[in-house]
Symmetry: C2
Subunit: 210 residues, 2 copies
Amino acid sequence: MTEPEDGAPERPARRRGRPARAAAEAGPGARDRILTAARTQFAERGYDKASVRAIAKAAGVDAALVHHYFGTKEQVFAAAIELSFAPALTMPDALAGGGAEVGERMARFMFGVWENPVSRPPLLAIMRSALTNDTAAAVLRGLIERRMLQRLAGELSVPDPEFRVQLAASHLIGIALLRYVIKMDPVASADTEEIIAMVAPTLQRYLTQS
Amino acid sequence: MTEPEDGAPERPARRRGRPARAAAEAGPGARDRILTAARTQFAERGYDKASVRAIAKAAGVDAALVHHYFGTKEQVFAAAIELSFAPALTMPDALAGGGAEVGERMARFMFGVWENPVSRPPLLAIMRSALTNDTAAAVLRGLIERRMLQRLAGELSVPDPEFRVQLAASHLIGIALLRYVIKMDPVASADTEEIIAMVAPTLQRYLTQS
């Protein structure tokens, strides 16, 4: 279970320290480089196999600097998936105001993110990490709760708005799983419009009908 | 990427052979012991890390006998998940005849399988394997298509019955993911009756309304 590649065990005293000089030496773009390297590492290797040391190496900095900026591996992962999730986190804006087409807007929003070849791989990687590692699942859960569900639920005027939003989200997540991961036909090759036409009324009911 | 624990590379000549004498020596219960050991291995280690050699060892037989009975590691996996999926594969019977409550019956069926502490772990393990390994995903896809969707679709009198069944299944799979894997509240701790009451009308619409 221990991760020998992680730089932390070699220098425990500096793990949570403040290597201000190292930060200055690494230059002003170091934080962004670490974040980009972390996203790539987690996407390619999954949470279990990604290591702070390899992220630091890819970013051209010392592992201590990664810990300085982000804390533990778990916190690096949280920051990296927040970056990967940035497009998905704008969903509450897409649904603002509710209304007659909120179900369709939610479905369109989901396919907009998943059909995009830039945003799909990191989303897939996060799902895989969350499914195989409890820490990654907890981080993803926290992000979705804090940044998406609470805001979304605030937009709705139905009883149990968080429960309703989760039911709607579960449907879209399940479709994403069948279509993009298991790749099961006919859902995998169906036109997105065809799926949206079937699914939008379901989401509409969950999000607006009490 | 190579799997050093797998016995196959050490004895390629016997891999697909017919060790009839070994089968006779291993006794009449050998096939079942292998299957049970395979299910445990895949559930505990996932598809990638499970090995034919370890399965053979746990079953008290030679690795060649595993290949003799089941073929490749992929085929052992197929047989093992077919065993794990046995309760889920009775779903078509549960939905036979369609009717006014078919949506509710499908939802109840799903929770019956997932809330059962005996059937949940192997299902979770299969989902994890399918999400992280393309071969496992293909095996699971084939099993669901062959054993579940085709028969289910035959029970329905709507256009595109397989598409409809997949939409319904995707919703239940997404709920299982949020509830049992990501463990996100309120769906994770909601009463199953509360979820069924919301979800059954959705499934009913997919399965019966053209």
